[in-house]
Every structure is written in C-alpha cells, then in structure tokens.
C-alpha cells in the first residue's frame, strides 16, 4: 500500500448555525481546507470524495457534496457509521489512495443537528439508533446510552464524579483558546458538580452541546504529496471496530470493545504503541466516556484513567494532552464532522500550528465511538518532522 498524507485541513466553527445550511457549511470548510494547502489546490485535481454525514439534510449527502463544491465529475461516497463516521470517512479515503486507485481525494464531514425543533431532535435521532420495538419506547435519550456504561464504570473503578468534572474543566479550558470551539469559557469542578442533572450520573457540564458544523481534509498519495506541501502529515494507521448494538448484549459495560479493536488495528498498522502518542483527540461526548477511552486506547491501565486526570497528564502541558481543541465537550459535536475535525486539529498540532499547541507533538491520534457505543474509528497521524 502507498503512504497517504494529509496536505490540507480546515473546518467551520462548531456552533448552532441557525443562519447557515449544509450547503453553506460545506463550501466554508472546503475553502479553509484548500487555503491551508501550502502550494495551493486546483479543484480539478480532486479525483474522488468521501463525505461523512449522519443525518440527511436538504438532500442525499453524496449529491449535496458534489453539487455544492462543484465536483459533478468525480465519484462521491457517503459514509455513515454513527458517531464514528468522520474517522471512518478518513479510513475509506485512505484505502482509496493507498490502493493506487486515486492520488488526490477529499474527505468532508458535516452535520446539521440544529435543523429541526429541539423538541423533535431526540425522537428523530433515537429512531436512527435504537431498536424500534424494544429500546425506542423506553426513552433512551443519547446521554442515557453512555450513562449506562459510566454508571457501571463508576461502580467498578475508583473513578468518581469529581474525575468526570475534572475532564469537563480541562476540556472547557482547552476550548477557550480555540476560535472554532462552541463553548469557550472556563468552568470549575464545583460548577460541574453542582450543575443540573441531565441523566444521572451526568450533569450538564458532562455533556457535549448540540452543534452544526463541517470539516474537510485533503488526502494525497506519497507520489504527489510534494506538489502540495513540503510538510505533509502522514496517516500512519486507521482502524474500525464494532460491538454488539443493544446494551443488554454487551457483557462488560466498563469498556468499549469497539475502541479496543479500532485502536489495535490503527496502532498495529502504524507499528506504534499507545505510549508513542503525543497528542490525542478522544471522543468525549460525555466526560466519563473520555475516562473509559483512556483505558480502551491503552493510555491508562484498566481502571487507571482517573489517575491521569488527577495528575494533569492529559491537560495541555502534561505528557499526553487529550482534546487540546476542547473536544466534543467544548468544541462541539456535529457527528459527521466530529472525526474529520479531530484530524484537522491533529494536522495542525503536528505541523505546530494549533491554537492550543502541544509542544513537540509528533504522533497524534483521533478517536470516535458511537452507535451509541457499538462502533469506533481510530486514526493515527504522524507529523512532517518525522
């Protein structure tokens, strides 16, 4: 397989973009991505595109992407893999290029969550993710899916709600300096612990906001990378893991086996270990999920995640900063865009251009978990200095 590089990356701010439709957000993200290509991009160079979008807004996604970006003559594939959509779109494009089929491909992720009335959003989205007869009528709101895991995790591990609050404080703080983040304000542990309960054990500050947004990456083969930049970021590994969909079929709910499988694949492909990772964007749709993911990704031993946040290891300035962008928690979470935007952040980190720069970052990792907890995608990237 040929090596594949990221040579451009861009994204819209994540926000409640009531005034912007999907047809506005896609060109915005693409244009920023194109502008980041050091030696410039001719749109005609793009040979194929992969578009991650969970929902269907204003038309079928592949067509909307081709039409909106004036790319009617190339194949466009829509990727939908729950909240792992973004990193799975990257994975599919990588194989398209590594195989030799294409030299230049575009990866875009986007979603418009705030497009329908907030009173309808829950049942609409639950309809896509739950068994209609067995789970749907129970009122299994999105936070409840993850809270079922985290409640058991808190029961078995030494982690507490204070540790979840520390994750919220960290990611909020990281977001303050990120102009693309949705929630750019600091909070305290006390504020997090005193916040209204959403779904016990999650308070308001344990939860990601609802967001709209888009992100884009330009992927090229090693054969043509130098036409676009002298500072490519290499995709060293990709992985995708699945798990049982219904919660009652998951035997150990203190871990996400999908993440374990995806991380093993991606790191295995890269020939790296978790300890090689310098910076990571981890799927923190809920704070407790970041803790569990430290363990599933191999950053902490089993039930050792709380020690990492206690010691500040995963804050910027620590030895393994996690979610320097603010994460889903504070940067925002338009599901299809989330994984792609994680790679945008890692791209900037590895090129030393991030808003919240991690010193000397060389290897970065991006991670999604979704479905709600039955699919994970992991991407491992390496900076140009390597």
């Amino acid at each position: 397989m040929r090596k594949v590089a990221v040579v451009g990356a861009g994204m819209t701010p994540f926000a409640e973009h009531f005034a912007l439709g999907i047809k506005d957000l896609l060109p915005m993200a693409f244009a920023e991505c194109a502008a980041s290509v050091d030696k410039g991009l001719d749109r005609g160079d793009i040979q194929a595109a992969w578009f991650g979008e969970l929902s269907t807004t204003d038309g079928f996604p592949a067509g909307i992407l081709a039409d909106t970006l004036d790319l009617p003559d190339i194949p466009v594939t829509r990727v939908e893999n729950a909240c792992a959509t973004g990193n799975d779109a990257v994975r599919n494009a990588l194989f398209g290029i590594a195989s030799g089929a294409f030299d230049v491909a575009l990866v875009v992720g986007a979603d418009k969550v705030r497009e329908s009335a907030s009173k309808d959003t829950f049942w609409e989205w639950a309809g896509m993710t739950r068994d209609m007869a067995w789970d749907y009528p129970l009122g299994l709101v999105a936070p409840a899916n993850f809270a079922l895991h985290v409640a058991r995790y808190l029961h078995e591990s030494p982690a507490t709600k204070e540790h979840m609050a520390m994750v919220a404080v960290k990611n909020h703080h990281h977001a303050v300096s990120n102009p693309k983040a949705q929630l750019r304000f600091d909070i305290t542990v006390e504020q997090a612990l005193d916040a209204p309960t959403v779904v016990a054990p999650f308070g308001l500050y344990d939860c990601t906001p609802q967001s709209d947004g888009a992100a884009a990456l330009l992927l090229v083969s090693e054969d043509v990378a130098d036409r676009y930049t002298d500072r490519p970021v290499w995709i060293r590994g990709v992985g995708l893991g699945l798990d049982r969909v219904m919660h009652q079929h998951k035997r150990d709910m203190t871990t996400f086996p999908a993440t374990v499988k995806a991380a093993k694949q991606a790191l295995g492909m890269a020939g790296l270990t978790p300890s090689d990772v310098d910076v990571a964007e981890v799927h923190d749709c809920f704070t407790g999920v970041e803790l569990i993911s430290y363990e599933d990704l191999g950053f902490a031993e089993r039930f050792g995640a709380c020690k990492l946040v206690e010691a500040g290891v995963t804050s910027v300035g620590g030895t393994l900063p996690v979610n320097p962008s603010g994460g889903l928690k504070a940067k925002g979470h338009p599901p299809g865009a989330t994984g792609v935007a994680q790679c945008v952040e890692i791209f900037e980190q590895l090129r030393g251009e991030a808003a919240n720069q991690v010193d000397g970052a060389r290897i970065g990792l991006a991670h999604n978990i979704g479905g709600p907890t039955a699919v994970s995608a992991v991407t491992v990237l390496e900076g140009p200095g390597a």
Partner: protein
C-alpha cells in the same frame, strides 16, 4: 352453583390506603394481568377469561391478546370483555363454568381482582339480580362525565330501594359502594374494600374467603344490583397489595407524538409480552430479543423455539433521566437487569418505586406494564419492580 378455587388481588403501590392510583405505566389491562397472575399462581388452569371493566384501553380490539400474553395463557382461549361494574363482575362469576378466570379491573379507585373457578372450592350461588336505572353519573363515548350531584338520592332511590326491591336477605358484604354505606347495611361483617368498580366484589370474595365468612354478597352500581350467597368451601387467596405511597410528581413535557412502527410491534409482540427468548437448535445461549442467526458456516437458522425467561433478576447498571423528554414524564429510571441463571440481560424501565432509588445490585422482578403510549397505541412490555427494601 360456582366453585371458586382461588382469588388473586392487586393494588398498585401508589395513592393513599383508601384510594389507590394506577401508576403512569399502568392501565386496566396491566392491573388485570397482575391480579390474574396472582389468581393463577398456584398452577391454576384457566380455559377461558372474562374481564369486566369500564376502563378497557383498546375499544377496537387487542385487549384479549395483551391479556392472554400477560397471563401466560394460550392465545386460543376465549376472552370475553364485559363492560360493567361490580354487579357485572359478580354476574360473570356466578354464571361461570369451571376453569374460568373472571377478572374485574378498575382505574378510578385503582385495583384489580380475579377469581378462578374450578370443580371444588368456595361455593357461591346467584340469589338476586335487579337492573334499575338511576344514572346519577354518566359517561359518554368520548369520555365526558356528568355527575347529577345528589348522593342522598343515590343512596335512597339507588342502593336502598334496590336492596328492598330485590328482597335480599341481610348481606355480609356489599361491593360497589363506599365504606360508610356498606358498614351501615352489614354492620360488623362488611370488609373494607379498596375499589368500588368491577373488582370490588372479587376483593370482597377474597375477604370472605380469608375470614371463612358465609352469607350474602351484594354488588351494586348506582341502582343495579346482583347478590350471591357465599357458602361453604375454601378458596386460596393471593394478594399482591403493596403499601400505598404518593405517586411521584415528576413533570410531563408536552411535545412530539412518539412514533410507532406497528410492523415492529407485531414482530416483537409474543416475546415482548410473554417474556420469552429464542432458543436456536445447536446454540447454547438464548437470544433476547429473538432473531434469526447465522452459523459459522454461514447457514441460516430461523427455526427457534420461544422459551420463558426468568422474572427475577439483579440490576447490572442503571441511570435516571432528569432532562425533559418531549412526550414523557421525567424523571424516570432505566436499568439493565441480569436475569437469574440464564445469562440474559434486559434493558427496561423501572416501576413501583421513586425514580433514582434503584442501585446496581438491587434485586427485583419483571412485571408487565404499559411502557409507553406511541401515536395512540399502548406499548406493553416488562419493567423492573425492585423488591421492597
């Protein structure tokens, strides 16, 4: 002459001792199932079911299937849905053939009771029946209620005039009226009854059976009356009557109508209401919910049998939803229950306790409840009722 072999009663845990209230996840059918299961609990055999109520939820069909599934009875059994109050239930019982399960179920003073007839047991014989009209309270097809508002008229020209006209001998119990009137008509013997509708005479029968009291049992509804003579014999009584406590307040959030797929409802109905899992040939583990499987060699397995699941288990994990959810009342609790000894878990709602009070490791049982109402369709399934602390 009818012989009653067992009587089962059910009172929801909500409301006050004097006036029980159905939970938000209960309706006349789920109450009836609780009482019916209690009556059948010592391996009683029912060959037909008569359910008497003025509150049946599905007026255009479907009650019978829910009832039989909830009771664990054969879907081929005859189910009679009888519209009526206390006299209708007593009529149904006094004319029932052996192995008939007669259930009375009420929502206003909530409760249900069921009597199973057999070849031996507590004997009862119809002695009086009188239909008179004094509609002091009316309800039309749309549910609109009108109350004439004259309790003394109801007492004098309803209850007392009918008792006199029917020339019944001094009753030992009266069902269908309030405690005060019952007490004045049968001093010293009138049992305190928690309900006044179709279930009331069956609650009365349970009390008479427990105390070994014989004599006339009257069931009244406005000016209509039925009397039976309760004679010798034994009926086993199984009461599922939890202590009463106030219904948790919660907050209903109006908004979206929750959609339903009736195709999905139909596919899930049997295992969902009968609490059954699939056993495929040559597969160790049970599949819950049931589904087709494929073997290692890719062969399709569709030929599964449904096997009953245990109705007791332990909470593996659980959460309580506080955030307002359009169309639902919050807070509510969801748990994953590890069912006893079968390696099967179920994700279900919690019932019978205040939200947020169930912890990991708690024990309880699975009970049929109306899990949701979706686009006008009552969606029945099982909920976890924790053991009393």
């Amino acid at each position: 002459m009818t012989q009653v072999s067992s009587v089962g009663t059910y009172l929801p845990c909500w409301g006050s001792a004097l006036r029980r209230q159905a939970g938000d996840d209960e309706d006349a059918l789920t109450l009836a199932v609780e009482a019916g299961r209690a009556a059948l609990s010592d391996s009683g055999v029912a060959e037909r079911v008569i359910v008497v109520s003025r509150e049946l939820p599905l007026l255009e069909g479907g009650n019978a299937a829910v009832l039989l599934a909830g009771l664990g009875l054969d879907p081929e059994l005859e189910v009679t849905e009888r519209l009526g109050g206390a006299p209708a239930a007593l009529d149904a019982l006094s004319s029932a053939r052996p192995r008939t399960l007669v259930i009375g179920t009420d929502l206003e003073r909530a409760g249900a009771a069921a009597a199973l007839t057999g070849d031996e047991g507590l004997s009862l014989r119809a002695t009086a029946r009188l239909a008179r009209s004094l509609p002091v309270r009316t309800r039309d097809a749309s549910g609109a209620v009108h109350d004439y508002g004259d309790p003394r008229l109801l007492r004098e020209r309803g209850l007392l005039a009918s008792v006199t006209a029917a020339a019944v001998e001094k009753p030992v119990a009266i069902a269908g009226t309030d405690r005060k009137q019952a007490g004045s008509l049968c001093p010293g013997t009138a049992p305190d009854l928690p309900t006044t509708g179709a279930s009331a005479p069956l609650f009365a029968l349970a009390a008479l059976a427990e105390t070994g009291t014989t004599g006339t049992l009257l069931a009244v509804e406005q000016a209509t009356l039925t009397g039976v003579l309760v004679e010798a014999g034994q009926a086993r009584v199984h009461r599922r009557e939890l202590p009463a406590r106030p219904l948790p307040k919660g907050k209903y959030t109006p908004g979206a109508e929750i959609p339903i797929s009736l195709a999905a409802y139909d596919r899930a109905f049997e295992p969902k209401l009968r609490w059954e899992a699939a056993r495929h040939p040559d597969r160790e583990e049970l599949d819950f919910p049931p589904r087709y499987r494929v073997g290692q060699d890719g062969s399709l397995s569709t030929d599964y049998t449904l096997v009953p699941l245990p109705r007791t288990g332990t909470v593996y994990t659980g959460v309580t939803v506080h955030v307002p959810v359009p169309g639902l009342k919050t807070p509510y609790s969801l748990v994953i229950v590890e069912l006893d000894e079968v390696g099967v878990r179920a994700l279900v709602k919690v019932t019978g306790t205040e939200p947020g009070t169930v912890d990991i490791g708690d024990r309880g049982r699975m009970v049929l409840r109306r899990v949701a109402v979706r686009s006008g369709v009552p969606d029945y399934g099982y909920a976890f009722e924790p053991e009393e602390a």
